[in-house]
Amino acid sequence: MTILKVKNLTKSFGGLTAVSNVNMELQKGELVGLIGPNGAGKTTFFNLLTGVYEPSSGSIELDNGDTVKKISGLKPNAITNLGVARTFQNIRLFKDLSVMDNIRIAMHKNVKYGVMSSFFRLPSFYREEKEIAEEAEKLLKIFGLESKKNELSKNLPYGEQRRLEIARALATKPTVLLLDEPAAGMNPNETSELTDLIEWIRKEFNLTILLIEHDMSLVMKICERIYVLDYGMIIADGKPQEIKSNKKVIEAYLGEEVS
């Protein structure tokens, strides 16, 4: 079943076309990689998927089981609420808030008690806050962060900040998870741990994952399919083995052979 369908997506900034005529289909439960040289438009593509930018043309459709909904043109919070969550290339945690609060904020969309209930601490406030706290702690435990739940997120070491960002994205209960360079700045040891973690959460949370990554060991190991973006265009897609030996991809990364 196709869960996310991108049709002829284009984004231009003035004269520069950052993403041009991209078509992509994600099947439910797939783990897909998006690679490409620096400046190829990968993050712009993510920003289009999550509503940070509005596409110049083309459309994005999300199928959440029973209805197909066009999500291009919606605001980021609306897209997240439909089940597309993301992490950021340059970590964007809520730095001066605790680890626990970072998770709880992501769970806000499921909060039912109203503003009045928060003013006067009505019973619904206590009931739901307790549920939120329990669920957040469960999530922190999975990511090995439960002992740090009261620390400010800015005080966590880098690797844990990356993990917290993934945990926070999962707290929004997504069906599609977009990871923007999750292994950036990690050492080989941490990367291999992260690789296992990504595979594990995919199964555990029943996710479809699209990830941008420069670390080829990670991409080749876990991605079932890979899209290669260069100058805003998809130049190749297929299984990792096919991509490795694709002439266009090698050219994009290493340059053309001089003949």
């Binding site: 999550t50 509503g51 940070v52 605001k75 980021p76 919070n77 997240t80 609420n81 969550a85 993301r86 950021f88 964007r92 945690l93 809520f94 730095k95 001066d96 808030l97 609060d101 709880r104 904020i105 992501a106 769970m107 806000h108 969309k109 909060v111 008690y113 503003v115 209930s117 928060s118 003013f119 006067f120 601490r121 406030f125 206590y126 739901e128 806050e129 939120i132 926070r168 994205a169 707290a171 929004t172």
Partner: protein
């Protein structure tokens, strides 16, 4: 474990009610002069204003320079109602109307201006405060530049205390709820906040409206305490005064706002004895407080003995 009646809450409540009782007794037995009573009233009103501005600026991160505008709407609504309606409940009607109109204006102004960020928002709210002032200045029923006088005095220590404590509790409850966390996430990182599914526009406007509502209450209490109001009282300078309280107390700290409202009122009370250099001293104190506070916060301001008695290992 009881959620409301736990040891900490009971201790706090006992302390706060004790404070109320002591001041009430001092007033009843005429130990506190009028001058001190006025200072206490100003402290309460400033606490309401500072805590509500802190919600907008300190917690939600939206810089506002027009808080006095909302206060003036509350003050004029309250005053006009208590002057024109003579009824035992007209005081409460005045406060309710003041809060309501301030909140409505907050909503109408918040929706367009909160799209702006940082210094642009500051300028827009500054303009908003001035526009409210000019409108009040030019209307007939507000008394124009001469202002309104003969406002019945209903506000007393008891009501000031109840409304101040009520505002602090309600805003503190709000901040420590999921809605309050949504506001704080906007301050921390607006893009991440949206990516986590928070409707940032809604929460910015909500914080603005709650802040305006409380400022309206403060304004209505103010007009009913001081008999007399005029547009100048609610100008740019008062907005700055409120902002100074918030900044001195610490952005995003309710307790800080309360302490700094009290501290600054006491400081200006004692500076009345030096009328010529009052503002110089006041400003100097602000500068000193900011420098010391920043160092305390960063842990740099540690007292490790007198400089000439420092142990040798410190001299490196």
């Amino acid at each position: 474990m009881n959620r409301i009646f736990n040891a900490k809450n009971i201790k706090t409540a006992a302390g706060v009610i004790g404070l109320y009782g002591i001041v009430q007794l001092l007033i009843m037995f005429n130990i506190l002069s009028d001058y001190y009573q006025i200072t206490i009233a100003l402290i309460c009103i400033n606490i309401i204003l500072a805590v509500s501005l802190n919600l907008i600026t300190g917690f939600t991160g939206q810089f506002s320079l027009g808080h006095a505008g909302f206060m003036s709407i509350g003050a004029y609504s309250g005053a006009l109602i208590t002057i024109n309606i003579t009824h035992e409940y007209s005081f409460f009607l005045g406060i309710a109307a003041g809060a309501f109109f301030a909140a409505v204006v907050g909503l109408l102004i918040g929706i367009p201006t909160l799209r702006l960020r940082g210094d642009y928002l500051a300028i827009a709210t500054l303009g908003m405060g001035e526009i409210i002032k000019i409108i009040v200045l030019n209307l007939d029923f507000t008394g124009g530049a001469a202002g309104l006088s003969g406002i019945p005095q209903y506000t007393n220590w008891t009501w000031l205390f109840i409304f101040t404590a009520g505002t602090v509790i309600v805003i503190k409850n709000f901040i420590n709820s999921s809605h309050g966390r949504a506001c704080k996430s906007i301050r921390e990182d607006e893009i991440a906040s949206e990516a986590m599914g928070i409707n940032t526009t809604k929460y910015k406007v909500l914080a603005f409206v709650i802040g305006a509502f409380c400022a309206g209450v403060a304004g209505a209490l103010y007009s009913s305490y001081f008999y007399f109001i005029k547009p100048d009282m609610f100008g740019f300078l008062r907005s700055i005064d409120i902002l100074v309280i918030v900044v001195i107390g610490g952005m995003g700290s309710i307790r800080g706002s309360i302490i700094s409202a009290i501290l600054l009122a006491v400081v200006s009370l004692y500076l009345q004895d030096f009328p010529e250099i009052r503002m110089i001293l006041y400003s100097s104190i602000l500068v000193i407080v900011m420098v010391v506070r920043e160092k305390l916060k960063n842990g740099k301001f540690k007292f490790d003995g007198l400089p000439w008695k420092k142990p040798d290992k410190m001299r490196t």
